[in-house]
C-alpha cells in the first residue's frame, strides 16, 4: 500500500511542477561524475606506472641482454640471469594455451548450445562458477595428486607438462564463463536463420556462432593466461625447479618459471638478489605485455572479419 502511494508521488513529481530546471547545478554534477569515473580508471594505470618505475629503478643494475641469456648464479650473482625461468614460463604459456583453449571452448559450446536444463547440467554449471573462486594452491595440490603422481608414466612426473595441465585446470573456469557470455550475446535469430536454411547445429556453430563469439572469448582467454603466467603457488607444489642446469626443451623436461624464480630471489638475504628479483619482475611484465598485445591483435582481426 505504502509503496504504491510512494511510486505514485514520484510519478507525479516527474510530470512537471516539482521539476527544477537548475541547469548549472545539474551540469556541475555531470562534470563531477565524469571526474570521479576518470579517477577510478586512472587508479589502475597509476598503480601500474608506480610499480613499473619502482622495479625498473631497483632492477636497472641487473637488466641487460646478459640477464636474459644467463642462468641464475649463486657464486657470481651479478652475472646471473633468468634464461631458464623465461624459457620455462614460455613453455608453460604455450602448453597451457594449447590445452585450455580447446577444452574451454568445447565445454562452453556444450553448456550453451547443447545442454538441456537437467539437474546434472545445472550441477556442472554451478560447479564451474564455484571453481573460478578456488584458491590456486588447491589446484596445485590437485595437480600433484593427478598429474605428478597418478599420471606420472604419461606426464613424466614433475614435468613442464604437469605444470601446464595444472595451470589449465586453474584457468578453465574463467575461459568457459567468458566464452559462454560471448555465445549468449549472439541473437537467437542468427541460430534460427541458420536452421531455417537447413544447416545442422554443428554447421551453425562452426560458421556463425564461434566466429561471432571469438572476440569476446579471446578477452577472457587473455585475462586467464595472464593469470596463469603470474602464478607461483600451484607450481611450487607440482615440481617446479628453483634451479636447473639446463633449459626446458621438451614437454616432459623439468622446468623453472618466472614467478617462482622471483620468489626464490626475494627470499634471499643478499641485496643483489633483491635487485635480480626486481629485474625479473620487469621481464614478467614485458612477457605479459607482449602476450597480451599479440592476443589483442588477433582479437581485433577476428572482430573486423566477423
Amino acid at each position: 500500500m505504502a509503496q504504491g502511494t510512494q511510486v505514485k508521488k514520484r510519478g507525479e513529481g516527474t510530470e512537471g511542477p516539482q521539476f527544477k530546471a537548475n541547469m548549472s547545478a545539474r551540469y556541475g554534477l555531470d562534470r563531477v561524475f565524469s571526474v570521479v569515473v576518470t579517477l577510478a580508471a586512472l587508479v589502475g594505470i597509476v598503480v601500474l606506472a608506480v610499480l613499473l618505475v619502482d622495479v625498473t629503478r631497483d632492477g636497472s643494475s641487473m637488466l641487460s641482454a646478459n640477464f636474459l641469456t644467463s642462468f641464475p648464479s649463486q657464486i657470481f650473482p651479478e652475472n646471473g640471469g633468468i634464461y631458464p625461468a623465461l624459457v620455462g614460463s614460455l613453455w608453460l604459456l604455450g602448453l597451457t594455451f594449447l590445452i585450455s583453449v580447446p577444452l574451454g571452448l568445447g565445454a562452453a559450446v556444450y553448456l550453451e548450445e547443447y545442454a538441456e536444463d537437467t539437474r546434472i547440467n545445472r550441477l556442472i554449471e554451478i560447479n564451474i562458477s564455484n571453481l573460478a573462486g578456488v584458491p590456486s594452491i588447491i589446484y596445485g595440490l590437485l595437480g600433484l595428486g593427478i598429474f605428478v603422481q597418478l599420471l606420472a608414466p604419461i606426464t613424466g612426473g614433475g614435468s613442464v607438462l604437469s605444470g601446464a595441465l595444472t595451470l589449465s585446470l586453474l584457468i578453465l573456469p574463467v575461459i568457459i564463463v567468458a566464452t559462454r557470455e560471448a555465445l549468449r550475446a549472439i541473437p537467437r535469430a542468427i541460430r534460427e536463420g541458420g536452421y531455417a536454411l537447413g544447416a545442422t547445429k554443428w554447421e551453425v556453430i562452426r560458421s556463425h556462432l564461434l566466429p561471432m563469439a571469438l572476440p569476446g572469448a579471446l578477452t577472457g582467454m587473455i585475462l586467464a593466461l595472464s593469470r596463469a603466467i603470474g602464478e607461483a603457488a600451484p607450481l611450487l607444489v607440482v615440481g617446479v625447479a628453483l634451479y636447473q642446469t639446463y633449459a626446458t626443451s621438451g614437454p616432459l623436461d623439468g622446468y623453472m618459471a618466472l614467478p617462482t624464480q622471483i620468489y626464490d630471489w626475494i627470499s634471499r638475504p643478499q641485496q643483489i638478489f633483491q635487485d635480480s628479483a626486481a629485474a625479473g619482475i620487469v621481464v614478467v611484465m614485458v612477457v605479459l605485455l607482449v602476450a597480451n598485445s599479440v592476443a589483442i591483435l588477433l582479437r581485433n582481426r577476428f572482430q573486423r572479419s566477423s
Binding site: 657464486i75 615440481g239 628453483l242 633449459a247 623439468g254
Partner: protein, 348 residues
C-alpha cells in the same frame, strides 16, 4: 567457415613458431655451454633430481652451477619444496639426492625409505644459526637467556607476556612486539624444539609471522619495540639495521655457530641414495664434486652459511667415501651420544 579455419591456423602457426624459437634458443644455449667444458675429468651426462629444504637449496644450487661449467650435458634440477616434501619424494625413489635442514625422521620417514628399498648416506654439509634480534635503537636489551626466550615464546605466553618487563624485570615496562617465521618454516620448527621444548608442537601465535625472512628483517628494523628471530645470514646482511642478542652469554657469530657454543645452531644435510650412486652415472661425480675439499667451503660461503669445522668436514667425507648408510640421529633428532662428529665416527 574457412575464415575460422584460417584463424585457427594463424593461432596454431604462431604457437608452433614461438615454441620452436624457444627450442632453437635452448639448443644454442646448450651448445655455447658445451664449448666451455672439458676441464679436468671426462664430462658426464645424465639426470639428477634434487628436492628438499629451501634452506639448503642455495648450497646445492651453487654446486650444480659449478658442476655445470665442466659438465654441460648433465641435467640437474634443484627444488625447494621443503625438507618433509623432499624426503617424501626421496623415499619413494623419485629423487636421487635430498636437501634437508633437519635429520631424517627415524619414526616416520626412515620406515618409508626402507619399505621402498631406498638406502641413503647422511652427509652434514654446513651449519645454520638462528639469530634473535631487536631494533637498532633498543639500548636496554643485549643478552637473553633460553629461559627468558621460552617464557616469551611458549604457548602459555599468548596474550599474557606482552611487555618487556615481564621477560626481564630490568627491562622497561613497555610493549613488546614479536616477529618470527610462519609455522611451515624449518626455522620455526627448530627454534620451537630447541627453545620451547620437544613436547610442545606449537609456540604462541600472536606474533607477526612471515615465511620470508626479509619481511621479518624489515619488521624488526622499523619497530622500536620489536624482538624477532630468523636465519643468521639475514642478520649478517643487515648489520646496520638490527642488533643481535647474545643467547645465554654467547654472541652469535660464524665461530660460535660452528663450535656449537651458540645454542641456536644446527647442522644442515644432503642425503644421497646409494642405489642412485650405483645406477646413475651422474650422481657419483656430482657428489664427489660437491664434497671435495676445494669446493665444499666455497659453496657454503657463497650461500652465506657457516662452514663445517675441518675435522667434521673430514668425517662427512669419510661417511660418503665409506658409503655408510643410515642416520646417526635418534628419534628425538639428537646425534647418538650427543655429539655429531663422534656419532659419525662411531657409525663408520
Amino acid at each position: 567457415m574457412s575464415r575460422i579455419l584460417r584463424a585457427r591456423l594463424v593461432v596454431g602457426v604462431a604457437l608452433v613458431l614461438a615454441l620452436s624459437l624457444v627450442v632453437a634458443a635452448c639448443g644454442g644455449g646448450g651448445g655455447g655451454g658445451g664449448s666451455q667444458g672439458g676441464g679436468g675429468s671426462e664430462p658426464v651426462s645424465g639426470e639428477i633430481a634434487i628436492e628438499g629444504s629451501s634452506t639448503v637449496q642455495p648450497i646445492t644450487q651453487a654446486a650444480a652451477e659449478l658442476f655445470r661449467e665442466q659438465n654441460p650435458k648433465a641435467r640437474i634440477s634443484v627444488g625447494g619444496a621443503g625438507t618433509s616434501d623432499g624426503f617424501e619424494a626421496f623415499c619413494q625413489g623419485d629423487t636421487q639426492i635430498s636437501d634437508a635442514s633437519r635429520p631424517i625422521d627415524v619414526a616416520e620417514e626412515v620406515p618409508v625409505c626402507e619399505e621402498n628399498g631406498v638406502e641413503f648416506i647422511e652427509i652434514p654439509v654446513a651449519f645454520d644459526g638462528i639469530s634473535v634480534v631487536v631494533n637498532e635503537q633498543n639500548d636496554f636489551a643485549s643478552d637473553v637467556t633460553s629461559e627468558q626466550l621460552k617464557t616469551l615464546w611458549e604457548p602459555a605466553a599468548e596474550g599474557e607476556i606482552t611487555r618487556w618487563s615481564q621477560v626481564n624485570p630490568q627491562w622497561p615496562d613497555e610493549e613488546i612486539s614479536l616477529y618470527g617465521p610462519g609455522t611451515e618454516s624449518g626455522t620455526y620448527e627448530f627454534f620451537n624444539e630447541t627453545i620451547v621444548g620437544n613436547e610442545e608442537e606449537v609456540n604462541r601465535t600472536d606474533y607477526e609471522a612471515s615465511e620470508d625472512d626479509n619481511v621479518l628483517v624489515q619488521g624488526v628494523a622499523g619497530d622500536q619495540n620489536a624482538l624477532g628471530y630468523f636465519g643468521f645470514s639475514y642478520y649478517e646482511n643487515n648489520l646496520g639495521k638490527l642488533k643481535a642478542l647474545s643467547l645465554d652469554g654467547v654472541k652469535p657469530s660464524a665461530e660460535t655457530i660452528r663450535s656449537g657454543e651458540y645454542g641456536l645452531s644446527r647442522p644442515i644435510f644432503i642425503y644421497v641414495s646409494t642405489k642412485a650412486l650405483k645406477n646413475n652415472d651422474a650422481v657419483k661425480p656430482f657428489v664427489d664434486f660437491y664434497l671435495s675439499e676445494q669446493n665444499l667451503d666455497r659453496l657454503v660461503e657463497a650461500a652465506k652459511y657457516v662452514t663445517l669445522p675441518g675435522s667434521l668436514a673430514d668425517e662427512s667425507r669419510a661417511q660418503y667415501q665409506d658409503r655408510t648408510t643410515g642416520t646417526v640421529f635418534t628419534e628425538a633428532g639428537e646425534p647418538k651420544g650427543g655429539d655429531l662428529e663422534a656419532a659419525l665416527k662411531q657409525a663408520q
